[in-house]
Subunit: 497 residues, 2 copies
């Protein structure tokens, strides 16, 4: 057996373990009865330790050295070796005791966060969050030393391989200068139009589910390799060949679940479209979180908040819920689903104000990781940033710096990928529409094949073959910039040509 | 750390792995989309190999030797050491290559069986089944050599620790002499009464599910540590603290799902009632399959086909399905659920004819394991046995020797536990009714606490502390015999006092 074959066999076993963990995690969030939480935590902890042990197996280093000398490997195999070396380097950079300490600190801090958020009590979270932050700094330093990156960039690279704060600073400064004024204009333009008509519910869960599945099918989701279920926090998870999404239903407003289902379906299409021959290999994985978020936002924001989609969806909605009257016309629905409103909560934000929430978090986490600001000052700095970027100040920390789980759960360096994803979505969707003139007419007919076919070819089936920038350049002719995103917003919200 | 503590820590990890496997297996049978079957098989195979590696860890032998010398261990700890030595001895008796060969032969044979059963084509299964049988003989010989047991008894011991063919022969010969004549009498008595009134369906799945959950709650099932779902073949599975049961619904006949739910709830009550302090330890496991089956049959056959239960259930059924008329009276329902009929299929059989199905399989598998009969002669021997024990001959092998998955899937030595379970159920239920006079009056009120309380104390909470015979003697005053079971049948089907 060649060293390359030994490596791929080993990584197939790691994939089999990851798939087991993925399904158990899905089960924890959708099916598991409450009394099983303790036993489940034990099972997941055991499997994660075993997966980590497999990932840092010293034989991987030997196989890599030998395989990199092998003749006759093709482009994909070479790219797979590059990705294997990358993930192995990152995994082995972390000392085992830091992995364990971090895992324990995160468990404690997530628990403290749930209570602190409910009580709007930041000081109660502070010591737990400080411990997580300290260990994140250590982890970033350990990985950064190995990879030759700053501490923040090393953390960011877990979610966005090849990403850097220098690059993000430039993109975000551009947006931060543009958005506050733009949001004001968009809201002013909106106020000159009539307010949306309230829709008469309730909208039964079973009917919402039927509509969601019908739209998933139209988008090209493969139900032979996935499911739709319910969870408190919607997500896309599961395993290779078993990509499961979730939503939550509000009987007073079917739009929330529908747009949520479309968003998660975008993630799922990426996962289901990864290259079958490399499904369990590092080169077969999705490229990074900004590209992943771009796939969900292409569906939710670019495609399905378009007038074309609502022309297709309006009759389906009327048929599903027996709706009639002016509020159920495509034009009224489009106004409803493109409404701009300044609010405190990131996950409820529209696409115009969302980047402000992200830029705020990105600036704060960078300062905290660099120790340029005491953690105790986070609430004040948060509120000042909200005032600066959105012109509003949260009345308490539950609606402020306690709203997200990312920091308490060790996800430092994750936030910027949301807005990188929104910009990437605009740039990719624009390129798809130019390359395939039938993309928007197709959507108006409920035929997503022209769009998804283009995404399959240029994104999904590429796995991690190329770096993000190279993939984007091959697909759109240039690396990421904010230009197309800004043009998209201007066209949609100000009616600019 | 003491050797005993090291052992229990190790077995807790094995339990965490078993729990992961249990949930993934449950998911495969209830939730998994078809396209995930291949990836899931890889994940389960990996986890099973890892679980086996943990079970045969050579440190276990060292820890056992040291722990058995430790002072200060209580009765439960000593019993745990005895069980750990037992399972470790069995696991290590099998050479690793035999485990692997057996696993592959079983996969191939299960696949061949599905097709062969559909086609009623035994010759198509023959070579696959022969391979499984050969490897089962080898496994039985390896374990038998270590345990000092015959090949058949060694296989039986996987399901029924301490069981032996000599003991089963005596019990089954007794029953085989009694049952054919008894079934004839019962059917004759039944024919003198009016035939059951057909019930007017359909009975919607959602209503059946509500009724099932209401009865589960009455039986004492803990929904905080389990779930009810749907699968093709009903089962009780899942994990410690997460005991999940399944059923299947027939909209033409709600009784099938209801009795199935009650049966699986009996299994689940045993699992949920195991000693909390030893949940993940060998001594905390259920004692064996005959006792397990006794718990399901106490609920399904002893308690819930009684006139008392149907007096409680009849109004619930009428209320759930809006039923009315003579067919919905408790007496008519009781006649319906205690109907005796000779049929070809084991899983559809009533409690009078069921033992004949089991005795047939037991005699055949014993002869096949001992190589006293060529496997090619199985269909003819099967049909002859059906004629002798039940007076009917299957028209083809789909309704004959191809109906069950047990043999193709390597479950040799399992069948007798069904009928041992039926006899054990009768003996335990009789003892419970004598010890707790409120058992039957309670059931008539829908209050199962007197019955379940007695079972908790005498069976569930004992885990594997005692050998089966000792447990039964402590609970009922004597080891298992067929007497109470025969008396139960006579009382119910012939109205004997």
């Amino acid at each position: 057996m060649t060293a390359y074959a030994a490596l791929t066999g080993h990584f197939s076993r790691i994939a089999a373990m990851s798939n087991a963990i993925g399904i158990l995690q899905w089960d924890s969030d959708t099916m598991m009865p409450r009394g099983a939480a303790g036993s489940r935590a034990d099972s997941l902890a055991l499997l994660r330790v075993l997966a980590h042990d497999m990932a840092v197996d010293p034989r991987v280093g030997d196989w890599l050295g030998a395989a990199e000398q092998e003749d006759g490997l093709g482009d994909w195999e070479r790219a797979n070796l590059r990705e294997i070396r990358r993930v192995w380097t990152v995994e082995t950079a972390l000392p085992a005791d830091l992995v364990e300490a971090s895992s324990k600190a995160i468990s404690a801090s997530e628990m403290a966060w749930r209570q602190a958020r409910a009580d709007a009590d930041f000081p109660a979270l502070l010591p737990y969050l400080a411990e997580v932050l300290k260990l994140q700094r250590e982890a970033g330093a350990a990985k950064g030393a190995t990879l030759g990156l700053s501490v923040y960039d090393a953390l960011l690279n877990d979610y966005e391989p090849g990403g850097s704060a220098a690059r993000i600073d430039a993109l975000f400064d551009d947006l931060a200068a543009f958005l506050p004024g733009f949001a004001e204009e968009a809201i002013a333009a909106q106020q000159r139009r009539p307010a949306p008509v309230p829709m008469e519910g309730p909208f039964p869960v079973e009917a919402q589910r039927r509509l969601g599945m019908r739209v998933m099918a139209a988008l090209g989701y493969d139900f032979e390799r996935g499911r739709l279920d319910i969870s408190t926090h919607p997500f896309c998870g599961g395993a290779d060949n078993d990509v499961r999404i979730t939503t939550r239903y509000d009987e007073a407003d079917f739009g929330k679940a529908l747009m949520g289902v479309i968003h998660e379906t975008g993630h799922a299409l990426y996962e289901q479209g990864r290259p079958a021959a490399y499904m369990g290999q590092p080169v077969g994985q999705a490229r990074g979180m900004s590209l992943h978020e771009s796939q969900s936002l292409i569906m939710e924001m670019q495609a399905c908040r378009s007038p074309e989609f609502l022309a297709f969806a309006a009759p389906l909605m009327r048929e599903t819920f027996g709706g009639s009257g002016p509020g159920w016309e495509a034009e009224a629905l489009w106004r409803r689903y493109t409404r701009v409103e300044r609010g405190f909560i990131r996950v409820d934000a529209d696409e115009v104000t969302y980047p402000a929430h992200v830029i705020l978090r990105y600036r704060l986490e960078k300062a905290l990781i660099a120790d340029e600001m005491p953690l105790a000052e986070l609430p004040a700095a948060w509120n000042a940033g909200m005032q600066e970027l959105l012109g509003i100040t949260p009345p308490n920390d539950r609606l402020g710096c306690l709203q997200d789980i990312h920091w308490p759960s060790g996800g430092w360096g994750y936030f910027p990928t949301y807005t990188l994803g929104a910009m990437t979505a605009a740039q990719l969707f624009d390129a798809a529409c130019r390359a395939e003139p039938d993309v928007l007419p197709g959507i108006a007919r409920g035929d997503f094949a022209p769009l998804v076919g283009w995404l399959r070819t240029h994104v999904h089936a590429q796995g991690s073959r190329y770096a993000t920038d190279e993939l984007l350049t091959r697909a759109t002719g240039r690396p990421l910039d904010a230009g197309v995103f800004k043009a998209h917003l201007a066209r949609r919200y100000l009616g600019a040509a």
